[in-house]
Amino acid sequence: MASAFSKRGEMTLREKFSQISWSLIFWLSIIVTIGVFMLYSAANASFEPWAIQQGFRFLICLFMLIIIALVDIRLVMKYAYLIYGVVFSLLIFVEFQGVVSGGAKRWIDLGPINIQPSELMKIALVLALARYFHSINSDEIGRPILLLPPFLMLICPVFLILRQPDLGTALMTIMGAGAIFFMAGVRLWKFFVITLTGLITIPIVWPLLQEYQKERILIFLNPDRDPLGGGYHILQSQIALGSGGVFGKGFLQGTQSQLNFLPEQQTDFIFTIFGEELGFVGGIILIGLYAVVILYGFIISIRCRNQFGRLLAIGITTTFFLYVFINIAMVMGLVPVVGVPLPLISYGGTALLTIMISMGLLMSVHVHKDIHIVFIGGFDSG
């Protein structure tokens, strides 16, 4: 594969370091700090077992973020397919060897840590697609044959994730990838065709879904149907949020979330604690903080002078957005319960790791924004 990197503006490590956006790191740290306090509250005013560990993990991940930010973006691009390949093999490995938990096979047991390859796939796919579309110019993007490889890059892992079965992650992966297709310049009517095809296949796919997935979708459509069954979650989290009111009941004062109406409230349903204790005002502030991070992502993306960086940044930012949106919407009963964590706040190692790696990559795009990558893939020797 012929590749030529422009030698213009090689950066020293010191220069790179000075380019890191410490203000973005500041905003991320604020969100994590809020999360640590929420975990403290979820454990009934105790740093054990979650808060302290989450804080500790964040510090490790932060260090990693900075290291990743310093990695040359061209190197990232060079290994994008390799990373995709490795994560894809992990997904296949899960298919055969994964740990079954809660009826689904999602984890690889690595002794002290568990890895959830479907989480990592979200980044790996963004990397691979960004690299692919980087090498396709605006004329070529109209040729359907050239859209086939990225489509397969998307559909193969999604198929495996659906088999786990993990509908939420699969949909999120599709939406994240869709954003890159869109930003790369794929014509809008093609999205309509694909979406329409998708809608038509719903009656075909429906019987293939797991019972609990069907149940979740049905409950979503009518949560009050059975308040003691599956709709219990949504109803209880709405009661918790709603009873919080405008200013909330005060930190550690939430009665609903402290009453264990919601199991696993330290993970996916942590926003209920936040909403109940800090109210509408607190909720707006938190959403605002997320919006700030997303805005940073868009700015980094638009300012970047190479297509790979632009697509990578927008892909990461959109994935981050999807995490936030789906989680909060799910907790408030706007979308079905799909098991998506609230980034930087929900307790959980893989989720935090995924977010922080992707933030590291975003930072790397920012640090290397002025680097031109005159790289035309296997389609042009220019």
Partner: protein, 611 residues
């Protein structure tokens, strides 16, 4: 060209970035809108729902399965009890409440600390046990003062009860509250006051006995009072467990052994069913369920007679002369001695510079095999062991179940030890000595066996089948003929010699246990005594004359052993008795065995359906 293409892309990108950003902003606004709806517009409705009408879920603990003896007599059952709980979220002032409670029912300082720490650890709506096993009087006091005791609930439940107290404690084990490290996924374990098996059958079969939780979903008001039950799923009680034990015999044996540090195993020689397995002193498992005080626990642990140890399966003893049947059988099988050959015993024999003594200092004179077993002559067996060598003795010992776990189903069971030449090299890095073969010939030295193994050995001698012990009753059938054990591959005529010897031990004129004979036809027993030294007798002691039993400190006295089966001509039951530091096997262990057999045969001979 390149530049052109890139600017083109940038244009598209920027245009679409605004579109995408706009879409995301719109969706976020949607979240804010929804939040506004829930937390501002509908806030009152949800607050009301939250305050006044909550749905709570409570687990219903299952009744623990009972443990019953072979006749269905209860060994471990459940009895109703009352306990006091507090629900922290309903308590306005915990300290004040505990003070009030202290005035009513007297709480110790440690209990108060425990309650406070548990309240802090658990979620505020999870009830915490204040006191278990409330008496009627305490109940009444709490009810009378109910108004001053917000958040206090009296709960009616079932608790474990062992009606026979310490009689079968080592087999049953006990239940006790769940420790932090024992928490598994089972939510039952988090229930206040829930008990799980910590030892014995209660532990080994905990899962089967535990049963499955039921659930009760109910509406509660702001005070946490249940308004109505919405849905209920009854719990699944644990399954009952039938043991092969005979509670009556178990109790008799336990009383008979009294305060001795002793153990005995009684089993059916055909089925391997253990009818009694006693280890004394014992402990009261009810105390563990109730919760031991530090002092009680310390007393149990520091008692030199080890009440917590099930000596019948964990105690390992040199079998002493009770091992001589094995040596004799090996000798006959390998033809190293003839039944008619007599060996002269003059009280000692020499091997090089070392002198080996017979227990009978005066010597037995000329003895044949049957006499040697009956009178337990050591000199005879030194000679036989010398001719056999260690390997052939060990092989025979293993065939009779020594030196390996019998897997009775209790985790504290130990396997004893049958030494071999390789074993000694591996263990000590030394060669096997001939002198060690000598003392192996009289069941001393490295060899170790548990009372259970001795009972199994005796059953196998009685039946020549490879009997295995069992303590869980698998079927209701009490047929003692069905066994299914394979033959031991022992020459029946050889075995007859050994059995004659054992008969003479108890019934012959020279027998070491003749004072313990059962003089009822059809009930006569055959057996073998054993006395194993705990401390080696020094040459000086021998010269000064052996001291009287009462002059020896308890810990230095010999262990007394006795194994037997009965009736001698139609064996049904085997027994092994080991009295730690009891002195002589004939004086201490044999009478216990005799009395237990008498009790057993008295009862069972009157029943047409013999177990």
């Amino acid at each position: 060209m390149l530049i052109h293409r890139d600017t083109d892309r940038i244009k598209v990108f920027n245009r679409r970035a605004i579109f995408l950003g706009g879409a995301q902003a719109l969706l976020f606004s949607g979240l804010v809108g929804r939040m506004h709806y829930l937390q501002v517009i509908e806030s009152d409705r949800y607050s009301m729902l939250a305050e006044e009408n909550r749905i709570n879920l409570r687990l219903i603990p299952p009744a623990r399965g009972r443990i019953l003896d072979r006749f269905g007599e209860p060994l471990a059952i459940n009895v109703q009890n009352f306990r006091m709980l507090i629900v922290a979220e309903q308590v306005p002032n915990l300290e004040k409440l505990l003070n009030t409670l202290d005035e009513i029912i007297d709480l110790s300082k440690r209990e108060v600390e425990r309650i406070i720490s548990e309240v802090q650890k658990r979620r505020s709506f999870v009830p915490v046990t204040v006191k278990d096993n409330l008496s009627w009087e305490e109940m009444a006091k709490v009810q009378v003062n109910a108004l001053d005791l917000p958040g206090v609930v009296v709960d009616e439940g079932l608790t474990r009860f062992y009606p026979e107290k310490d009689t079968a404690a080592h087999i049953l084990g006990y239940v006790s509250s769940v420790d932090e490290h024992e928490l598994t996924g089972d939510p039952l374990l988090q229930l206040p006051g829930f008990r799980i098996g910590k030892a014995g059958m209660e532990k080994e079969h905990d899962y089967q006995l535990r049963g499955g939780a039921g659930t009760s979903q109910f509406e509660v008001n702001a005070m946490g009072r249940a308004i109505r039950e919405l849905k209920r799923k009854e719990s699944t009680p644990g399954s009952d467990l039938y043991l092969t034990l005979d509670q009556k015999l178990q109790k008799y044996a336990s009383n008979r052994m009294g305060r001795e540090s002793a153990s005995c195993v009684v089993m059916n020689v055909h089925t391997g069913e253990v009818l009694a397995m006693v280890s004394t002193p014992s402990f009261d498992p009810n105390a563990f369920n109730r919760g031991l005080t530090q002092k009680e626990w310390k007393t149990l642990l520091e008692d030199p007679r080890a009440p917590m140890t099930n000596k019948a399966i964990s105690g390992q003893y040199a079998p002493g002369s009770a091992f001589k049947m094995i040596v004799a059988l090996a000798a006959l099988e390998h033809g190293v001695i003839d039944t008619s050959e007599e060996i002269k015993c003059k009280g000692y024999t020499d091997l090089g510079a070392r002198r080996f003594h017979c227990w009978e200092e005066k010597g037995h004179g000329k003895v044949s095999m049957v006499d040697a077993i009956a009178s337990s002559c050591d000199i005879y067996f030194y000679e036989v062991a010398k001719r056999l060598g260690i390997a052939r003795i060990s092989e025979m010992a293993r065939r009779f179940g020594l030196g390996e776990l019998l897997n009775i189903g209790l985790s504290t069971e130990r396997g004893g030890l049958v030494p071999s030449e390789e074993w000694k090299i591996n263990r000590f890095g030394e060669q096997w000595q001939q002198g060690e073969t000598f003392i192996l010939g009289i069941g001393q030295g490295y060899i170790l066996a548990t009372p259970l193994q001795l009972a199994v050995m005796t059953s196998r001698l009685a039946t020549s089948l490879s009997v295995m012990p069992k303590i869980i009753k698998t079927s209701e059938k009490t047929d003692n003929i069905v066994s299914g054990f394979s033959a031991l591959n022992i020459n029946q005529s050889d075995l007859k010699i050994i059995r004659d010897g054992m008969f003479n031990v108890v019934n012959g004129s020279k027998g070491t246990a003749k004072s313990s004979r059962i003089n009822v036809n059809g009930h006569k027993m055959s057996g073998k005594t054993g006395t194993t030294q705990v401390k080696r007798i020094t040459i000086e002691e021998r010269e000064e004359g052996l001291p009287e039993l009462d002059d020896i400190p308890w810990q230095e006295r010999s262990h007394a052993l006795f194994v037997a089966y009965a009736p001698h001509d139609n064996p049904k039951y085997a027994i092994s008795v080991v009295v730690e530091h009891g002195g002589g096997g004939s004086a201490v262990a044999a009478p216990i065995a005799r009395d237990i057999f008498k009790e057993l045969l008295k009862d069972y001979s009157s029943q047409s359906n013999i177990i």
